[in-house]
Symmetry: C2
C-alpha cells in the first residue's frame, strides 16, 4: 500500500459520517505502522469524538491499550483535514497526536476555518512531527464541499433544484407545476432532501402547493440502521408566511420552521420568525441560517425564489430534472436571468453528473465560483 491508498481509505471512512456530522466536516483517520493499518476511525456524529480519537481508540481495541501506545509511537497518520487545534465540544486532536508521539502526518487539506487554518499544523511541527499537506487535495475538498463553503462564504451550502420541460419551463401560466418530473425523479429528490439541513421555498410556492417539505423515504432506502432515526430538515420560508389552513402541511408535525421576511409575526412552538429591515435581505438571512447550524439548504422554488438566488450568485450546486415534454412559450421560465452581452461572457457552470430516471434526465452542475 502507498500513501495515496491510505489517504483514499481515510476519505472513504470520512464519508460514512455524511448524514450526521453537519455542520462539522467529514473526517477520516488512518494510523499506519510498518505499512500496515493499526487503527482507523471517522467522525460519526456532530458533538461526538473526532476521527483521530476514534482511530486511536480503534487501535487500542485491536491490540490492547498497552501495545497500542507502543505501536502509535512512531507511526504515520493519514487524515483528510487538518487536525483541530481548538477545544469546542471535544479536546483538540492535535494534542492527542503529540501525546501519542506519532512520527509523520499526511493531511489532505488545511482547515478553512480562519481560527484554525494552519494553526494545528504549526503546533504539530513545533512538536517535531513531520508534516505533508495536500495529498489527494481535490478529493478532500470535494468531500467537504459543504464545510468549505460554510467556512469561506459564511453561509449554508446552497443547492438549487428545479424540474423543467425541454423548453426550460417550470410551470404553466396558471401556475400548474405538478407532475412535470416523474415518480423516479421525485424519489431521487427526496434523497437530496435527506442530505441537507434545511429546505427553502418561497412564500408563493408554500401557499400555492401546500407542501409537506419532508423526507419521504424509508430507513432502508436511506441506508439507516435499526437504532437510527430519519433527520427531517428544517423548513425554511422566504417571505411572510402566516400559519393558515392553506399551508397546513408545513406546520404539521414537530419539524422546525424558520420564516424570513420584512414583517415580524408571533413566534409559536417550533416556528421562528426572522425580521429584516432592508429589502434584499437574502444574504443576511443565509448567514442567520448558518448561525443556527443549518450548514446546507435545498432551494426548491418557485421561479422567483430560484432566480433570486441565481442572480445574486448565491448557489453552489444546480440540480435540474428535465422532463421530455414541451410546456410552450406562454409558460413560466424555470430560470430567468439577465442576458449577457456576448455568449463568451455568459455565466458558465461546471457539469458534474448526468443521471437518467426513466424518461427524465437529471443534471448536476457546480457553480465555478468555489
Amino acid at each position: 500500500m502507498k500513501d495515496l491508498d491510505f489517504m483514499a481509505r481515510a476519505i472513504e471512512l470520512a464519508a460514512r459520517g455524511r448524514l450526521k456530522v453537519q455542520p462539522n466536516p467529514m473526517v477520516g483517520c488512518v494510523i499506519v505502522k510498518n505499512n500496515k493499518i493499526i487503527g482507523e476511525g471517522w467522525h460519526k456524529e456532530y458533538g461526538k469524538e473526532h476521527a483521530e480519537i476514534n482511530a486511536i481508540n480503534n487501535c487500542k481495541k485491536n491490540f490492547g491499550a498497552k501495545k497500542a501506545l507502543k505501536l502509535i509511537a512512531g507511526s504515520t497518520v493519514y487524515v483528510n483535514l487538518e487536525p483541530c487545534s481548538i477545544e469546542k465540544n471535544t479536546p483538540p486532536c492535535s494534542n492527542a497526536l503529540i501525546k501519542y508521539q506519532i512520527k509523520k502526518l499526511f493531511c489532505g487539506t488545511l482547515d478553512p476555518n480562519p481560527k484554525i487554518n494552519g494553526r494545528g499544523i504549526t503546533q504539530l511541527k513545533k512538536a517535531g512531527i513531520k508534516i505533508s499537506v495536500g495529498l489527494l487535495k481535490n478529493e478532500c475538498k470535494e468531500l467537504n464541499r459543504i464545510f468549505f463553503t460554510n467556512q469561506k462564504k459564511f453561509r449554508p451550502y446552497i443547492i438549487l433544484k428545479s424540474a423543467q420541460s425541454l423548453d426550460g419551463k417550470i410551470a404553466l401560466n396558471n401556475g400548474e407545476s405538478n407532475w412535470i418530473s416523474n415518480p423516479e425523479s421525485r424519489k431521487d429528490s427526496h434523497h437530496i432532501r435527506s442530505k441537507v439541513k434545511g429546505i427553502l421555498i418561497g412564500r408563493n410556492t408554500a401557499e400555492l402547493d401546500n407542501p409537506s417539505l419532508t423526507v419521504r423515504l424509508t430507513k432502508n432506502e436511506l441506508g439507516l440502521g435499526k437504532g437510527e432515526t430519519i433527520q427531517q430538515p428544517v423548513k425554511i420560508i422566504l417571505g411572510n408566511l402566516e400559519r393558515s389552513k392553506k399551508v397546513s402541511k408545513i406546520f404539521a408535525g414537530n419539524s422546525k420552521v424558520i420564516v424570513g421576511s420584512a414583517k415580524l409575526s408571533k413566534k409559536s412552538k417550533n416556528i421562528e420568525y426572522l425580521k429584516y429591515e432592508q429589502k434584499n435581505f437574502l444574504k443576511e438571512f443565509l448567514q442567520d441560517l448558518l448561525d443556527r447550524n443549518i450548514s446546507s439548504i435545498l432551494v426548491e422554488g418557485g421561479q422567483k425564489t430560484l432566480n433570486a438566488f441565481l442572480v445574486n450568485n448565491l448557489f453552489d450546486e444546480l440540480v435540474l430534472y428535465t422532463a421530455p415534454m414541451f410546456l410552450g412559450k406562454e409558460s413560466q421560465d424555470a430560470i430567468s436571468v439577465k442576458a449577457p452581452d456576448k455568449i463568451k461572457t455568459s455565466v458558465k457552470l461546471k457539469m458534474m453528473r448526468v443521471e437518467r430516471f426513466k424518461d427524465d434526465v437529471k443534471t448536476t452542475y457546480y457553480n465555478k465560483d468555489i
Copy 2:
C-alpha cells in the same frame, strides 16, 4: 445457438450497411443448416445485391457451388425484413429462396412498403416454405426506423438538432449563436451529419451564419476504408436563397443544393429550385425530397425553422446539446411551441439516450408518434 441468436446476427450484419444503403432498408441474412451458419450476407450499397443473394453467394464461396446447392436446400433462413417480391434494381429475393428450396424462413418484420407488405411472405408460403414473422420485431423496426418512416409517412426521416443553454436559449437577441456547444459536441454533430442524406436549414440561418453544411470528419473517424469516399449530404434550404457572397460556402464545391420556396429562381449547376404555391409547403417539400432519394434529413435551425417542424409534428428525433450556461430571458428560445392547457396534455417525447461531451449534455428523444 437459438433462433434468437441467428436473428441477432442478421441484425448485426444488416447494420453494416448503415452509411450506404439509403433509401433502401438495412438487411442482413443468415442461412443455417443443422444449427450451423453455412452462409451470411448483408445489403452493402444502394443498387447492389440484396442480403439474401449475398448470403447464398457467401455459402457458395464457403463450400463450392455444388455443395452449397445441397446445403441450402432444406435450410433455415433468418432475415430482419421480409424478402422483396418485386423487381427494382435487382431480381426479387423471394424467387431465389424458392429456387434454392429453403425449408423455413424467420423474418423479423414485414416490409412496410404497401406494394410488398406481406406479398413476399404469401409467395413463399405458396411455395411450401414455413414462415415465422416477428422474431426480434422491435429490434428490427428500430434498425430500420428511417426506412419505416419513409414508407409509412411518405417523407424523409427527420432529426431536429439544437444547441441550447440551460435556460433553453438558442441565440442572443442580436442573433449570436456560435460557440454555445463545445468542440466535442460539434464534432459529434458531424457524425450525425454523416448518417443523413440531407442537411436542412432556414434561409435566415444561411444568410446569418454562411455555413458549409459539410461533414468535416476524417475517413478514419467515420470508420471508412481506403477505397471508400465520404458521402456529403445534400444541402437543403427552406426559403428563397439566392447565390451571393453572403452564402458563398453553401454553394462552394460540387455538393447538390436544393432550395424550396414560394419563388422560382434560375436553376444552375448542382442547384435545384423547387417552387410551391401555398404558404405552408413544408409537407409537400418533404415529399419531394423523398422522391429525390433523400430518405433522412438533419434540421439544424434556426429557431423559426426548428419550430416549423415541431408545431407541424414533422419530426422523428430530437437531439439537444445542452451547454452549462445561462443566456438570459432576453435571448431567443430554442423551442417555442404553444402551451398546452394542462401539463398532462403536453406533447411528450420518449427519452432514448443521454451522452456527455465534457460539460455539454447530449439528449436524444424520439417522437412517440411513430
